[in-house]
């Protein structure tokens, strides 16, 4: 079978090569090969091609933008996300205008100034004024965009008042969320304390650990209208906590605490109404390549009313149940292949 395919392909190549030779020879005989006339014909057909490509391309661009917009993310479910979406739309508007002007100019010029034996080129090596204009105008536009963008950026990363501390913990290939409880302090943890019963490596000797609560299932809840300060930690490799519907993302880096704050503004139930999809759920995805099953690393996120959230929290695991265990020795681990190639 493979042999047959190989032979067919080889024969095909040989036939093509022979055909090419014939075409080439015949065009040389008729004298049309590579002459100016031939190039003018190519200029006409390809110039026309550019116009068709431009019209169809821009048409499809508009059509697809309208058609696909319904598949994009629904309205932002976080406070800062609304501002980001607005900023994104402003950017799109400016980009769209520049895109249309430059692409149309490019393809139109390629068509209009093709050599059709009817005009000569215009010797025009420079024009400082023009160049100055198209240096300064983008500078002004970009500066405006930078400033509006950075305002939002600084807002997102500024310290918020009355925020609830929540830890999002990632490992190959699942998530755990820990809530800081009434004291609003995430108790200490140590990766050397990790066991099957203590997946977060909580340090039971720290009093702040006692009231912490963490998830055991593949579902986290967050209360509506509450400013949340997420602390991200990874157990093994870099992960990234991506909450697309809340316009939030932050990497989880082993050995480091990273943070991101947002305030959910739409409950899951309300969002189901908005999207018209009664199966809709928010999601937390891993967005940094973390291993073979990277694509399965996700967690369902539910935005509850504060009352529902409190009730749900009771069903989760209490850190006070974690027994204090001595740190595991790491000496053995060297023999366990961490350093082997």
């Amino acid at each position: 079978m493979t042999l047959l395919i190989t032979i067919t392909i080889l024969l095909g190549i040989i036939v093509l090569a022979r055909l090419m030779t014939i075409v080439q020879l015949s065009s040389e005989l008729t004298g049309s090969s590579d002459s100016q006339e031939e190039q003018v014909r190519h200029n006409n057909s390809n110039g026309f091609g550019f116009i068709v490509f431009m019209v169809l391309g821009l048409g499809l661009f508009i059509y697809m933008t309208i058609d696909y917009s319904k598949h994009l993310l629904p309205v932002s479910a976080s406070e800062h996300g609304v501002g980001l979406d607005k900023l994104l739309n402003i950017n799109w508007a400016i980009i769209g205008v520049v895109f249309f002007i430059t692409q149309i100019a490019l393809f139109y010029f390629s068509y209009k100034y093709r050599d059709n034996k009817k005009h000569e080129a215009y010797f025009y090596p420079e024009n400082y004024k023009l160049e100055l204009i198209w240096t300064i105008v983008p500078t002004i536009v970009l500066t405006t965009l930078i400033i509006t963008g950075l305002k939002q950026w600084n807002g997102i990363f500024s310290e918020k008042e009355n925020s609830m501390n929540v830890q999002v913990y990632g490992y190959q290939f699942a998530w755990i969320t820990r809530y800081s409880g009434p004291d609003n302090i995430l108790g200490k943890s140590n990766y050397k304390l990790i066991t099957d019963d203590n997946p977060l490596g909580l340090d039971a000797s720290d009093p702040a650990v006692k009231d912490d609560i963490y998830t055991t299932g593949n579902e986290m809840h967050i209360p509506l209208g509450q400013e949340l300060k997420f602390q991200f930690n990874a157990r093994d490799v870099i992960h990234s906590a991506y909450f697309p519907h809340f316009r939030a993302q932050m990497n989880l880096v082993p050995g480091m605490n990273t943070f991101f704050s947002f305030k959910p503004t739409i409950t899951t139930a309300e969002m189901r109404k908005i999207t018209g999809n009664d199966k809709f759920d928010y999601v937390l995805l891993c967005n940094k390549i973390c291993g073979v099953a990277h694509y399965t690393m996700k967690m369902k996120v539910v935005v509850d009313t504060p009352a529902d959230f409190k009730a749900w929290l009771k069903s989760q695991k209490k850190a006070s149940e974690v027994k204090a265990a001595p740190p595991v020795s790491t000496l053995n681990s060297t023999a366990n292949g961490s350093n082997s190639i």
């Binding site: 190519h42 520049v98 000569e120 983008p138 963008g149 050995g255 999601v283 995805l285 366990n336």
Partner: protein, 606 residues
């Protein structure tokens, strides 16, 4: 002492040397261990084309998985063996394919292939030198490149599979063999291959810089250099400055992997074991990697710009608009590209203040880039355009660069990056702006300088078919991808079935896969044209495009080692005197003195 000899030839026997070889050339010295820059350029080109097809073939396999996730392809098992058992692609091998596809395309095709081919071919020919400053180092450079390609290719076929942590190979994933199978031997081979690659890049880069500075012919002042040479020159400087940093990053990774150090590792519990390493930071690796990684994308695109400038001007029969601004913007882009690496790290836990700084510098890069695009448009305005395949590809580059560059404004804005970071939006953006766009530049270069390389013409009709299929397919693949990204789909996902909300994108993914195959078919047409034309193409005239630059004055065909019989030509003018009012012809080669063109001289040109 071949090194000394070549250098002597180029420098001392400048005016009166008739180049003849003192020694007999064997097959081995002429085609394998050649020190002739033209042969080395061809070696680079052919190796890069082979690697490009390898990389493309990988992308087709993972596109099959993304476009038809439920379908079993029986032929996969015979193609990739145990990784395609039962006609389904293995998720681990999917990661490996994505990783090696990226590595091959970024480093071997668009860095080695593009710079290696055209810097080697055009720098000596266009500045008027007999060869590179050091032919021997140049030869070494190619063979390190070859070795690097060979090791990377070999790594695909080992038991545990090649490196699979993404082309950026972030530790700890890449540092710990227990984190994924590809981080074992595959990752070691990846690092070995990259070390060879960095060596070739430095050997090549130093050579290019020396040649441009020292070996320009009489009259070839820096302001008379073709923009191609300017682009290669600045690219080489950029590479020499940044590749050593990648070497440092790789070296520390080797230490962490093999010698128990903790540069990048800290507080890790994996495989049921708490590792002893502490105090390191993966973010350090990210900084080191992207200090090269970002300039790297400009190392890719600048040569493509250079080739495009030359083709647009020559085939537009019109001087490039704003020569000085073009050189200035090349320099500005090169400088700024070294201080923007942090925009790959907005959400890595880097201090948000730094994020703000990097947003600022990043959007600054957009300014010289915009100047380049506007200058290209002004070059086309009122030109007399010859739409040869090379010209079509050059125009395609401009179109793609606009499309991809504009989405960069969104990604460069730290606030907007939060929600599209590492999604398909990024994949679409960089494939358009530096992947496809640089490939278009490279193809423009191949079509334009093929006669100079092989002394024969490529078939035009096949060239046009190749161009149109490629243009349509590239937009067909990458335009819809933006929507998937805006829909929140992360990149490097083996399957999007994990979240129900992504099901709506399955149709788009199928469409993208179909276009990917169309693009592949178009490249097969190119390959056929390329190979056929080397042997059977029409014989090329001395100066097929009526170009001004020096490479068209050296003997046609494969040429001779030493480039010119008799003295090296002297240069009297800049390379863009096309359609000068009053001139006899629509081009005046650089070798024509002003005294012979009294009618067309501008004030100050006597």
């Amino acid at each position: 002492m071949e090194v000394k000899q070549t250098a002597d030839v180029a420098v001392e026997h400048h005016d009166d040397h008739t180049h003849e070889h003192d020694h007999h050339e064997t097959f081995l010295t002429k085609y394998i261990f050649s020190q002739d820059h033209k042969t080395i350029a061809k070696q680079y080109l052919i190796t890069a084309i082979i690697m490009a097809f390898f990389g493309m073939y990988m992308s087709l396999i993972f596109r099959l998985q993304l476009g038809f996730p439920e379908t079993k392809f029986a032929f996969l098992e015979s193609l990739i063996g145990k990784w395609g058992k039962g006609g389904r692609l293995d998720p681990g091998f999917y990661m490996a394919l994505v990783t090696i596809h990226g590595t091959i395309m970024v480093f071997f095709v668009l860095t080695g292939g593009l710079s290696g081919t055209f810097s080697n071919l055009l720098i000596p020919l266009q500045v008027g030198a007999r060869d590179m400053a050091s032919g021997f180092l140049n030869m070494l450079s190619f063979w390190f490149f070859f070795l690097s390609c060979a090791v990377m290719t070999y790594s695909v076929y080992i038991e545990t599979g090649p490196a699979a942590g993404g082309w950026t190979v972030y530790p700890p994933l890449s540092a710990l063999p227990q984190a994924m199978p590809g981080s074992g031997l595959g990752m070691t081979l990846w690092l070995v291959s990259m070390v060879f690659f960095i060596i070739q890049s430095l050997l090549g880069g130093i050579n290019y810089i020396c040649t441009v500075i020292n070996l320009r012919t009489k009259g070839m002042s820096m302001t008379r250099l073709p923009l191609t040479v300017w682009a290669f020159f600045i690219t080489a400087i950029l590479g020499v400055l940044t590749f050593p940093v990648l070497f440092a990053a790789a070296l520390l990774l080797v230490f962490d992997r093999s010698f128990g150090t903790s540069f990048y590792l800290s507080d890790i519990f994996i495989g049921g074991v708490a590792l002893p390493q502490s105090g390191g930071s993966p973010v350090l690796y990210e900084h080191l990697f992207w200090f090269l990684g970002h300039p790297e994308v400009y190392i890719i695109i600048l040569p493509a710009f250079g080739l495009t400038s030359e083709v647009l001007s020559t085939m537009g029969r019109k001087p490039i608009f704003g020569y000085k601004a073009m050189v200035g913007s090349l320099m500005a882009i090169a400088f700024l590209s070294c201080i923007v690496w942090g925009h790959h790290m907005f959400v890595t836990g880097m201090n948000p203040f730094l994020g703000a700084v990097f947003t600022f510098t990043t959007l600054l890069v957009a300014i010289p880039s915009a100047v380049k695009v506007f200058n290209y448009l002004a070059t086309l305005w009122r030109a007399k355009i010859q739409l040869t395949p090379a010209m079509c590809f050059a125009i395609g580059l401009v179109s793609l660069f606009i499309s991809g560059g504009l989405t960069g404004i969104i990604l460069g804005d730290s606030a907007l990056d939060i929600n599209v970071h590492d999604t398909y939006f990024v994949v679409a953006h960089f494939h358009v702006v530096m992947g496809a766009s640089a490939i278009f530049g490279m193809l423009a270069g191949v079509y334009h300088w093929f006669p100079r390389m092989f002394g024969r013409m490529m078939n035009k009709t096949l060239g046009y078919v190749h161009f149109w299929l490629t243009l349509i397919a590239v937009y067909g693949v990458f335009f819809p991808m933006h929507f998937i990204g805006l829909g929140g789909v992360p990149r490097r996902y083996y399957s999007n079935s994990a979240y129900e909300g992504f099901d709506v994108f399955l149709n788009i993914n199928t469409l993208i896969t179909v276009f990917a195959f169309l693009a592949a078919i178009a490249q097969v047409i190119f390959l056929f044209n390329f190979v056929y034309s080397i042997f059977k193409g029409k014989k090329a005239p001395q100066n097929p495009w009526h170009s001004n630059t020096l490479e068209w004055t050296s003997p046609a065909g494969p040429g001779i080692h030493g480039n010119w019989n008799g003295p090296i030509p002297t240069v009297y003018r800049w390379p863009y005197d096309y359609s000068k009012p009053g001139a006899d012809d629509d081009y005046i080669p650089q070798t024509v003195p002003y005294s012979q063109t009294k009618n067309s001289n501008l004030p100050g040109e006597e």
